[in-house]
């Protein structure tokens, strides 16, 4: 029997257990096992780079086979999962040093990795759901490692996550009730043959589950707390990978279970794409814009990144929901890119927190002189995030824009473009308030992070460049995946896209090389001028005033306060507040319900009488209550 996929799936779990046990011996054993096994997973994954496996039976449950499979798309997501998890593990070695319960932390980290790997490899809904649930609660345990506030955040997360998972469970049970098997292929056949009401119900139920995990508005409310309160490496796993798993679920739902043609049949085609996908596109579009606005006004570095994640996942979902080959490719590519640059940013901000102990943007500043590597990583991260050429974020966003334009989805295109412009604002805020500006005196002795924490930053920075200048590398996988799902892939080459069919052309290598040429010209002009000499940050223009060390001569609090004046009136209400209001009223209602247990024996005895009479009453009704 071919155990291959099983081995792949079990590697992280084994690694988790071994590192847990190893940690009892010595901490270096724990790290060795964790890093070894997560790298091993990555290596194993590369064996499947060009080798799809369709049917690997895991077992049988409830008369439905549980199967594993790997296709190029799941390979792509599995690649994201394993890479980012590996880097997170490497990063945590120093970052989490000195905290309690580290054995358990690494165990959880690897179990989460395994569960997410399981989701990407799942070939049927039962396996999918099983790993989904495992992922939910193990990632909850990771979130709450971040200290006191994280507990509340984790609580919010687990509640929303359980709701999402349960919503999926209903859909799965409905499908199981019909055909007693949950293999993707059979489910797709069932859905194609089912009445439309059933299909739509299934769709909505699944979508709720995926929206929660992918943090699409309006089910995003857990994100800003959870991402910001969790430990940095966990945040990068959450934002880089967990969100992508939500997007992967959505992809599976749209293309593996339903398929564009079926979605088109479900609702009349009033718009260029199937209405149901159009709706999802709008959810994504609103996510993009609203959370961009929220991110601009944050004072907390990780909260800012959290909102930015909501916004960026909006692009992924938007791309996937467009339904054309270009859009899907753009969405998937953006998933990869977002995983790279957002994890990078969480790592760098984590590094800053590691050294300075604060993530309050208005307390930081000027760290570029102390942490140049971290700064470089952040720089690459923000350029990629803002979708500015020549780094990777630009390419995938550009694909999404082009796809929207191809389909004449102009209003969504406006939202997407605006979201991207808005992202300049918050990324600049992020890098400015942490690394630029004046260095506060209390951070005078801050040092660069240890080498082990630099590794993920270096590698991911490299990733932003590589996938930016050579988008063909990622497109190889994506195009094969699209072919696998019956979508004709678009034309591409190593350096970009030749264009055609209403789509513009793009050659990243030209852009980057001309840019470098321009830089060289600028440098020549610069070098011809007089020599510069470094001056202290206090030797600064202050209208003649002498800046001293005890004055804070830095602009960082309320960076976009004036912008806040423009948009704040709109943001007085929020989804979070609505949910909390619901929770409160449910609380009050539940409290009234509870009072049926009065504690009085007389009342209780009367209940018995009531029940006997009720049952007796049934005699008169003939036993039927409905």
């Amino acid at each position: 029997m071919n155990m291959s996929l099983m081995v792949l799936l079990l590697t992280p779990f084994t690694g988790g257990i071994l590192s847990y046990l190893g940690g009892k011996i010595h901490r270096s054993v724990r790290y060795t096992f964790a890093i070894l096994f997560s790298s091993l997973t990555l290596v194993e994954l590369f064996f499947y780079y060009n080798k799809p496996v369709n049917h690997f039976v895991l077992g049988k449950m409830f008369g439905s086979v549980m199967i594993l499979q790997i296709n190029p798309i799941s390979w792509l997501f599995a690649f994201i999962v394993t890479t980012i998890s590996l880097l997170a593990i490497i990063f945590s070695v120093n970052d989490m040093e000195g905290r309690g319960g580290l054995d358990f932390y690494y165990f959880e980290l690897m179990v989460v990795e395994g569960a997410m790997l399981g989701i990407t490899l799942a070939g049927d809904l039962l396996t999918f759901f099983l790993f989904w649930e495992i992922m939910s609660w193990t990632s909850y345990l990771l979130i709450i490692q971040g200290g006191n506030k994280s507990i509340k955040a984790g609580y919010k997360y687990i509640i929303m996550s359980i709701i999402g998972a349960n919503s999926m469970l209903i859909a799965i049970a409905m499908i199981y009730g019909k055909i007693h098997t949950l293999v993707f292929r059979n489910v797709a056949m069932l859905l194609a043959a089912s009445p439309h009401g059933f299909d739509i119900a299934i769709f909505v139920l699944f979508a709720i589950g995926f929206f929660v995990e992918a943090a699409v508005m309006p089910l995003h409310t857990w994100v800003s707390d959870a991402y910001s309160e969790a430990p940095s490496s966990v945040s990068s796993v959450l934002s880089g990978v967990l969100e992508k798993i939500g997007a992967y679920g959505l992809f599976v739902l749209l293309y593996a279970l339903f398929g564009v043609s079926l979605l088109g049949k479900l609702m009349p085609l009033r718009f260029p794409s199937p209405t149901i996908m159009y709706t999802i596109g709008w959810f994504a579009g609103i996510s993009i814009v609203v959370s961009t606005f929220l991110a601009i006004l944050q004072e907390d570095a990780k909260k800012l990144l959290a909102y930015s994640s909501i916004s960026q996942i909006g692009y992924v979902v938007l791309g996937i929901s467009i339904g054309t080959s270009l859009g899907v490719a753009g969405g998937l590519f953006h998933a990869l890119n977002h995983a790279i640059f957002k994890s990078l940013l969480f790592f760098t901000i984590g590094a800053v927190i590691y050294r300075t102990g604060t993530r309050n943007l208005s307390e930081l500043g000027g760290l570029i002189k102390k942490m140049p590597v971290t700064f470089t990583g952040t720089l690459f991260g923000i350029i990629a995030l803002a979708g500015v050429p020549p780094l990777n974020g630009f390419v995938s966003k550009w694909m999404i824009y082009e796809a929207l334009l191809q389909k004449k989805e102009v209003f969504l295109l406006i939202l997407a473009l605006i979201g991207s412009t808005g992202s300049f604002l918050y990324v600049y805020r992020l890098i400015h308030s942490t690394f630029l500006g004046q260095l506060p005196e209390k951070f005078k002795d801050v040092k660069e992070v240890p080498f082990l924490m630099q590794i993920p930053i270096w590698l991911l920075s490299l990733g932003t460049i590589v996938f930016g200048i050579w988008p063909g590398l990622a497109m190889n996988v994506i195009a094969r995946g699209e072919k696998f799902f019956g979508i004709t892939p678009i034309k591409y080459n190593l350096y970009g896209f030749p264009g055609g069919n209403g789509m513009g052309s793009l050659k990243m290598i030209n852009i980057s090389s001309v840019f470098i040429a321009g830089l060289i010209v600028a440098y020549i002009i610069f070098a011809l001028g007089a020599k510069t000499h470094r001056i202290s940050q206090y030797d600064n223009y202050a209208a003649g005033q002498v800046v001293t060390k005890d004055t804070k001569y830095n602009y960082s609090y309320g960076f976009y306060m004036f912008f806040g004046r423009v948009v704040n009136p709109v943001f007085k209400w929020s989804a979070d507040k609505i949910y909390l209001a619901w929770a409160r009223s449910a609380n009050v209602f539940g409290d009234y319900m509870r009072r049926i247990y009065t504690g009085n024996l007389e009342t209780y005895s009367s209940y018995i009488v009531v029940i006997i009479s009720l049952v007796g009453f049934l005699i008169l009704l003939g036993g039927k209550i409905w």
Binding site: G59, F131, N148, I151, I158, L169, K178, Y607, V615
Partner: protein, 495 residues
């Protein structure tokens, strides 16, 4: 040579030990506490011996005094009964091991005798094939439980014991009335015989005795709104007793209801009503649990909710529903018993039942807290624990036919599971991540308390890793339960 495989021994052995206890009590009160573990261990071994037989024959019937049913008191063990007996013996064994260290209050001899009687009664309830016998077993269980609830003799336990006594007595009398009515109508007390004879009665004729039996058993089975004694009684009892009460006693009563409804009355028409009751039980149980500050009270309310949950699954009436119900019973019994034992162990350290006082003890009582988490996860139905599979089965069973009602039901079920998750996660959060109160000296409970629940935890983990056989067995049990003719024929086979 005693036939080890005679199910009557399941009753006889513990009863014998009760008498033994009474005999040795005057000589050494301390010695009596070693009797329950032995008795339950023997019981466990016997039940395990019975497995192949039940698997082979389906139902094994044992008679007393050599007279064949329907005339004599008889015992009929089918898959469901046997599994419950196994659980009862296992929990009895674990709880009595726990008692060795846990019960320090006097009079220990009486406690141990009552404890043995409780176990006997429960086992008796699940293996009896006779209506009156059921009543007797019910009484044995209840009376010993009254005593045990009031064992601590403080204000709480006496009040709770008294409430329980009143309610339980009403229940017992109602059950008795029902049984008497049945006897008057059919002239027999044998379940299988009644089942056969009652078939010619009209729905209305059947309903009166059924309603009395249902209500009587429902009081013990914690059905809404007859369960009002439970949230008082379970927390007030010593934790080991609570674990038995929550873990298996309510379940045994539910078993009796199931047996009466399916096998005896063959009431499929009543299921909507049962479903409603089950749903209310679930909703009120879980909602109330959410608001509790007292950990044992919370667990007790959670028991009500869980009872509603598996009773709901049973009331679906399908094979898969029964399967789900059985799986959930198994899951709930093991997890809830463990949770109560752990709560007891923690209370010995914290000296409070208030959840707020539990904050931060996860750092000190590592084993207890981790196993608490395992139990809670299993109860919530998080994978890979067994609860996940039972929850899945029940949901699948509910949605076997998709229509508006079933979806509404499932939404309610899942909403309740969210609430359950909410309160369990809240407790665990404060346990693991809360701040330890200063000045408290908390350390891990003594091994005598830890080992028993760790054994249970290992059973739960084993189920988590290897759930497939149990799922297969539970399906067989469900099929057997739903085909009542098999049971009836097996009991009355001699005629």
């Amino acid at each position: 040579m005693v036939n080890l495989t005679n199910p009557i021994l399941l009753i006889a052995v513990p009863l014998f030990f009760v008498f033994l206890a009474a005999v040795i009590a005057p000589f050494s009160k301390r010695a009596t506490k070693y009797l329950p573990p032995v008795a339950f261990l023997i019981n466990l071994i016997i039940t395990l011996y019975l497995i192949p037989q039940v698997a082979e024959k389906g139902v094994i019937v044992a008679t007393t005094a050599g007279i064949k049913p329907p005339f004599a008191i008889n015992i009929a063990v089918d898959g469901l009964g046997l599994s419950l007996a196994i659980i009862a013996s296992l929990l009895g064994l674990i709880a009595s091991l726990y008692n060795l260290k846990y019960i320090t209050e006097e009079p220990q001899d009486k406690f141990n005798m009552l404890f043995l009687l409780l176990g006997t009664g429960i086992t008796w309830m699940v293996i009896t094939g006779d209506m009156f016998n059921l009543f007797v077993a019910f009484e044995v269980t209840s009376i010993s439980a009254f005593g045990l609830v009031g064992f601590l003799r403080d204000k709480d336990s006496i009040e709770a014991g008294f409430k329980y006594l009143v309610m339980g007595s009403i229940g017992a009398s109602l059950l008795l009335i029902g049984v008497v009515m049945l006897y008057a109508a059919t002239g027999t007390l044998n379940m299988a015989d009644i089942a056969e004879k009652i078939a010619r009665f009209s729905f209305r004729q059947k309903l009166l005795p059924y309603s009395f039996i249902f209500t009587g058993l429902g009081i013990e089975g914690a059905l809404f709104p007859l369960n009002a004694w439970l949230p008082d009684a379970h927390p007030a009892a010593p934790s080991s007793v609570s674990s038995i009460l929550s873990g298996i006693m309510t379940t045994a009563a539910i078993y009796a209801i199931i047996r009466a409804t399916v096998t005896v009355f063959n009431y499929s028409a009543i299921t909507p009503f049962i479903l409603l009751i089950a749903l209310l039980t679930l909703v009120f149980g879980e909602t109330s649990a959410f608001f509790q500050k007292d950990i044992k009270r919370m667990l007790a309310y959670s028991t009500i909710g869980q009872t509603g949950f598996f009773f709901f699954a049973f009331s679906l009436g399908s094979v898969q529903g029964m399967q789900g119900a059985f799986m959930q019973i198994l899951n709930h019994s093991l997890s809830k018993a463990m949770l109560f034992l752990i709560a007891g162990a923690m209370i010995t350290q914290v000296h409070s039942r208030n959840i707020d006082d539990f904050s931060g003890i996860g750092k000190k009582m590592k084993i207890s807290s981790v196993f608490f988490a395992i139990g809670a996860f299993s109860l919530m139905g998080l994978p890979p624990f067994f609860g996940f599979w039972s929850k899945l089965t029940i949901i699948f069973a509910t949605l076997a036919y998709t229509n508006f009602y079933t979806i509404t039901l499932v939404v309610i079920l899942l909403f309740m599971s969210v609430i359950e998750g909410a309160y369990f996660f809240r407790v665990m959060q404060s346990m693991f991540f809360g701040k330890l109160k200063e000045g408290t000296e908390i350390k891990e409970a003594s091994p005598g308390l830890v080992v028993p629940f760790v054994i249970l935890g290992i059973v739960i983990l084993t189920l988590a890793i290897y759930p497939t056989p149990i799922i297969a067995v539970s399906k067989k049990i469900a099929v057997q339960l739903i085909h009542r003719a098999v049971y009836i024929n097996a009991v009355l086979g001699g005629l």
